[in-house]
Subunit: 652 residues, 2 copies
């Protein structure tokens, strides 16, 4: 009935935490976790509060003091220096020695008899002496003998000064009696991953399109050659659509035709035929030796491989025969193909997560991940995770991370905002975003602010793709080359993680009329390209990636600061390092058709630049240099000659 | 490893809830709980969401549908119609029938073959038929036979229209298949108390001061006579400082003198002598028969009794001998008296909550509450709860409420904001506030807005005391009679729960120089007053209390709407009922010395009054009536003749 024990100190409103601590916050190695909490206690005791952090499973906490600001709010921070699961908690306790010092100091008015208080102090000192190792124990005891001697001689003031003096206080700081305390339980979680989780440029290509002979099916060997060019453009991650055998039944023809012609290669998302399923390679791409060479070349080039993880099966997938209960059966005995009316995917069977063999299905899905991790894949781009139960993702990502905490999951959840967020909370390190459709200044400002502030910045990293095989946004269809440059600059500088799908550098923008779909989409046919075609922006993409590598300010996700620009077609934002050693100013003309110019307002105080100071503005894109002074600057754009500035501000 | 089951629907961000559901929200009988939550699911199913509420321990839930606004946010409400603990939760499920209707409707394009879909629909209908009672089961089966007949005849369109038509949909709405669903667990808690918890006028008096003969110790019989006058003034609650035997050791003399003179009555907060402790009556006040008569008279007059609950003991309290381990012992063997340096309370021993006999101490503290509840006390004003462990309050209030959910606890926690809030969260129905020191327009506006919005409105009710035996605020010391009227109007109309300590109606304001303490404080001596002394504001207090009784708008706590007034010395706010049938406008001159006048801006749209409409403004304080029209009004105050308006707005 009466509780056996209770928290002696109240610890509330700890930040950061997600959904009352149900989900971990996320960091990359080397980042800080800045923690604050309300910590208080009944009565008038002085409190001490410490922050404790450790890798999950470690014995010892890294302990650091927290400091009180006001209104019972305490602050501290720690740095995560290894990948994997971490935990942190807060311990607060009544600091008996400091409380006593405060009390006797207040009571020490002329004529006060503090004998009783001094005796109380000796009890506290004795307790701490018992907690100290031999040397400090001896020092405390020695000082106590002096205090007792002074007391016996009637020299209360001397005894008191010994008790509260700097020597005693210095020793006592190390041996607090924490019995009247509480440690927040359970601890809060942090998931720590590699820096590439939050700073990377992605490049997506179809291996089967990498042949140099038009119409010929490309191979992994062709792709190996292509890797060098991808690296030369400055990308960090190569992302491959599915590379598995493709089904024959209801195979789609070119432009999503429901009838395939002979020679049509089908959609790589219709996985599985007699050569195998999710753990097999499409034979036309090559064999496992080719794959191993592909992986080895990526390693050499310091490129990571992201593989598409697609929970679809073609009607010819081995699972269909081996595990018919994993699919949706209709009353007429047929298996239900994927649909999102009016769209039909006759070449694809979705998996039934409500199957009675749930354990078997989930385990197999985990096996696929582990298989490809064994084959050198470090990142998975997960197709449509929002159509599968979220608890599955929480489980499967957790299972993978227990063995392979370095693995990165990207959620391709182009769905409603709360589902996008939840998938990030349960373990997806990165998420596709609505960036692809945000073109106006206000929309971009609001959306990027939403992503990089509040709760979301603790667990959600938006991977800003400028295009995908599924999405050729209207701005690229109509805006042409200036729009491609503009959107590349935005993607690469608004987020520290961004990507393009190959063909972007060629400004490919032929669409099926009235749709966001590519005409002659590579999803249904082989596309051999001339990478040096006129009008390509390969040089500009390469420059942008180099600027990102050279600028620490562009390598951090949450540091976007939007600036005031008078012209509504021009957006400007700064990114800077915490120490202001790197300040990058991006100014982009959002109008791909017309010239625009404006006054730009610079928050010089924020930049640490004096109001009367002349400073240098180096345009890293064009190589031009300006001398600026004062809180405004003039900018001017012509879509055909200059779309954006990426300016490094340098103090003289 | 693989979870046995998992929530099939995601339910998140439920509001209201306090600290992730750790503490109950609070309501009074008859109030609504308006609930909202994010509810969603993977995939494309149509969802149905219901709100479920019940008294704790009841078998059946009251179930009501929730409706979707946007961005996956669902809304519902329920009304609490009995006191005690309630719980509420949310259940969401994939609505298989509606999902099917949506799917077939989308697919029903010319030439579509929907046979398979219709067979799927029949499976869903059959499941629901199995959930329906005989009559509706038969109706569903009958319609299904018609569908099957139509199907057999090749009349797909007829079958479809039977399946999705209004008759079938009407029946199906009652028998959803909820298997693909989830009910939020654990449920969230509501603590429901009586309306007087949130609408009451309190009057505090010392029974020992109720004699009519100066210097003579008043009795409960004197107090019974006084009750009639308190009732006549319109108060609902009489609040009595401790009425227990008072210690002799270190008894305080008048004006807190450390040496008592013979005949000095001592502080009622120094509880206990040979006549008993917390469960005894001070013999000079009377015996238990007198107490019973006092209680009976309160019942007759519909007055509730609030008793001070004070966890102090005089050195002569029986506990000191019986339970020496409940007190703080110093190394020199003495018991530690209460101190808050430089203040000393030599006549009071605080209780040691860290005693090894914690169970004995806590149980005894509970026994005191139960004893007085047995003696007719329904409300406890708890002295300094912030100096005792919060988990004790959570436990003891929980124990009392299990047997006596109607009991009200008022926290006298004049302490830091977070502790004040926490005490409310753990069970205190009412809290003293900083209102007593908020005198400027901006301060009042900010503070009252903080109390009545956000989280706090769900669990915190501020009892606005204009004065207490401990606090004679500077504004009353210097502002005289106009300040007393002004502060009474503010207390009584800004909060629906307010109180005064007797003497307020006489505008008593003699203070110890430089302090907020009353000179010749009643805490240390008997004070016999002339209740008809010149300058009294008894009539005004009575009028204010009558206006509160007549105005439903003033009986709700959270409905303060601050208005714009050009003059910074004049504050204005409206309170209105949800249906706008009662609109009260309070306009108060915060300057007790100078005349002030201003333009007042009226949000006519909010009031439901037309821009061109002439409406009546009845000053309920003065009886004056004005015809107003348009969004502004002129107000003028003279501290000596008019301090405030309490205006009822009436449409013609």
């Amino acid at each position: 009935m009466i509780p056996k024990d209770y928290p002696r100190v109240i610890i509330e409103a700890v930040e950061p935490q997600i959904a009352a601590g149900h989900y971990p916050i996320k960091r990359v190695v080397g980042e800080k976790v800045v923690v604050s909490a309300d910590v208080y206690k009944e009565g008038h005791d002085r409190l001490a509060v410490v922050l404790k952090a450790r890798q999950l499973g470690a014995n010892d906490w890294k302990v650091s003091p927290m400091t009180l600001s006001n209104n019972d709010r305490w602050h501290g921070e720690f740095t995560v220096d290894a990948i994997g699961a971490w935990e942190y908690t807060i311990e607060g306790y009544a600091e008996r020695y400091l409380s006593w010092v405060e009390e006797v100091t207040k009571k020490n008015v002329p004529g006060a008899d503090l004998k009783s208080e001094l005796l109380e102090g000796l009890v506290i000192l004795k307790t701490s002496a018992g907690l100290a190792p031999a040397e400090d124990c001896a020092r405390i005891n020695g000082l106590m003998v002096l205090m007792e001697t002074a007391l016996a001689a009637g020299e209360q003031q001397v005894a008191l000064e010994l008790g509260v003096g700097s020597v005693m206080a210095g020793i006592m700081a190390s041996y607090p009696d924490r019995r009247e305390g509480y440690q927040l339980t359970p601890a809060l979680a942090v998931m720590v991953n590699r820096p590439i989780t939050r700073f990377a440029a992605w490049y997506e290509f179809f291996p089967r399109s990498q042949s140099t002979v038009p119409g010929q099916h490309g191979t992994l060997q062709d792709s190996i050659r292509r890797l060098h060019e991808v690296r030369a453009m400055g990308f960090d991650v190569v992302y491959l659509p599915p590379i598995h055998p493709i089904g024959y039944s209801f195979r789609k023809g070119k432009n999503n035709n429901v009838v395939a012609s002979p020679g049509d290669v089908g959609s790589p998302w219709a996985i599985g035929n007699e050569h195998g399923g999710h753990m097999a390679l499409e034979p036309k791409l090559g064999n496992w030796d080719d794959w191993d060479q592909f992986v080895a070349t990526c390693r050499e080039l310091n490129l990571e491989i992201a593989l598409d993880y697609v929970m679809n099966c073609s009607p010819d997938h081995p699972y269909v025969a081996a595990h018919p209960d994993w699919f949706f059966h209709r009353p007429d005995g047929s298996i239900k193909y994927a649909e999102n009316p009016p769209k039909k995917y006759q070449d694809v069977y979705p998996l039934n997560f409500s199957t009675s063999d749930r354990a078997g299905l989930w385990q197999e899905m985990l096996t696929i991940f582990l298989f490809w991790i064994g084959k050198g894949v470090t990142t998975f781009r997960v197709d449509n995770p929002h159509t599968k139960p979220v608890p599955f993702w929480e489980w499967v990502i957790g299972q993978v991370h227990r063995q392979h905490p370095q693995v990165i999951f990207l959620a391709e959840a182009f769905t409603k905002p709360k589902m996008m967020r939840l998938l990030a909370k349960v373990g997806f390190a990165q998420s596709y975003t609505y960036f692809t459709w945000r073109n106006q200044k206000q929309d971009l400002t609001e959306y990027v602010s939403e992503l990089t502030s509040g709760d979301m910045k603790e667990y959600f990293t938006g991977n800003f793709f400028a295009n995908t095989p599924d999405i050729l946004p209207p701005i690229l269809q109509t805006g042409g080359r200036p729009a491609f440059i503009m959107r590349a600059v935005l993607a690469a500088t608004l987020s520290s993680v961004y990507g393009i799908y190959s063909g972007y550098e060629l400004c490919e923008n032929a669409a099926i009329p009235g749709k966001e779909e590519y005409l002659d989409s590579e999803k249904y046919e082989i596309k051999v390209r001339d990478w040096h075609a006129p009008g390509n922006i390969t040089g500009i993409i390469t420059r942008i990636n180099q600027i990102r590598r050279d600028s620490p300010a562009l390598q951090t996700y949450n540091n976007v600061l939007f600036l005031t620009v008078d012209n509504p077609h021009i957006i400007a934002y700064a990114k800077m390092t915490e120490d202001r050693s790197d300040i990058i100013l991006c100014v982009v003309n959002l109008d791909p058709v017309h010239r625009q110019h404006s006054i730009l307002h610079l928050p010089l105080g924020t930049f640490g630049i004096g109001a009367d100071e002349t400073f240098q503005a180096d345009d890293l894109l064009s190589g031009e240099r300006y001398d600026w002074r004062g809180p405004t600057a003039y900018v001017e754009f012509n879509p055909y000659t200059k779309v954006a500035h990426i300016i490094k501000l340098r103090r003289r």
